[in-house]
Symmetry: C2
Subunit: 185 residues, 2 copies
DNA sequence: ACCTGAACACCGTTCAAGT
DNA sequence: ACCTGAACACCGTTCAAGT
């Protein structure tokens, strides 16, 4: 994978942490565990980071960058009609396994403000993309704001309830988007 | 408060745990902390519970009961028109501070299946209340299912994103409910 | 039946010492 | 500049012993 130099960089640690996080969830993100993966002892970690919290912030930052890229790629579908854009984003959310990381991030966000800032930024970004698409659909700003809020919050809720609630099918999504696209009465 | 007997019951522990949880969040729920509150030593805890996990499950159970009661009270507004019922439930969600506990519960749910079951049950309950209200509004079951899902997921999302996203005003809620009540095209 | 207190394992954190 | 290894504090857990 990465060039296997004898010594590690901070980058190597955040990379390893993100991998661990995605593979085994937030509970596995421990210093001992990481050290084992990287073939190094505990003390080494503290040369690169002041704290577990600092590592988490770095991981969050990195995750945010990667997420932003992914989102921008999606938004690059700028030439696609807005309806199609929403469809792709929504379906992406539903079957993507990436919310296991997102859930972990939101957990951290509660205890460490740095992570909260990063998550908030990401939410804001998604919200704007969705809002813009709905405006392009021909709605005035007030309506767009409400409906975008509804959809984005529902997305967060879906990612968070690994719940017993029914998982929407593709047909459900189409029906839902028809609904969101409807002209205001 | 409670009758101050010398010896404690399991009930006293769950009560104390829930209080601690609401007051100081999930991070404060430690055995040492609880023991200090209850004026007792660590070992005592293990006479009542096998595990921290078992305590958490008990707390979750109790929270679920209390939540169910609250929900049933809300649903007892059965004689109110469905639209009004939805309005009350939604507003209740928005300004209620009780989701700090709910968030904690969902965090646990990820690591302990017992808690997950309890949270799932609660979600299901809310979903059914909302779905029924939308059916009463005159929609057929398919439409009701989609829209109820949207609203409930949005509710979960709202409770979870302590986010930078705009918090809906009362006017927003009315607009939103107008929207959800709209006849299908 | 309910609790104490000592003991242990595990994990985050520090730091002097090595290369 | 990057890492080791020993040490410490803290927390969950066990258990023999007390009342």
């Amino acid at each position: 994978m990465a060039p296997r130099t004898a010594r590690l960089s901070a980058q190597d640690w955040t990379r390893g942490a993100l991998d661990l996080l995605m593979a085994e969830g937030v509970a596995a993100l421990q210093i001992n565990r990481l050290c084992a993966d990287l073939g190094v002892t505990r003390g080494s970690f503290y040369w690169h980071f002041a704290d577990l919290t600092e590592l988490e912030a770095a991981v969050a930052e990195r995750w945010c960058e990667e997420t932003r890229e992914r989102l921008d790629q999606l938004a690059e579908l700028d030439r696609l009609p807005p309806r199609e854009r929403l469809r792709i984003m929504t379906l992406h959310l539903i079957d993507d396994a990436s919310w296991s990381v997102e859930r972990a991030l939101r957990e951290w966000a509660r205890s460490t403000p740095q992570v909260a800032a990063v998550v908030g930024e990401s939410d804001q970004h998604v919200f704007e993309l969705v809002e813009r698409a709905i405006v392009e659909l021909g709605h005035d700003p007030t309506v767009a704001r409400t409906r975008a809020g509804l959809l984005v919050y529902a997305g967060i809720g879906f990612a968070h309830g690994q719940s017993t609630l029914p998982k929407p099918t593709e047909a459900d999504v189409d029906q839902l988007l028809d609904f969101l696209a409807e002209p205001a009465s």
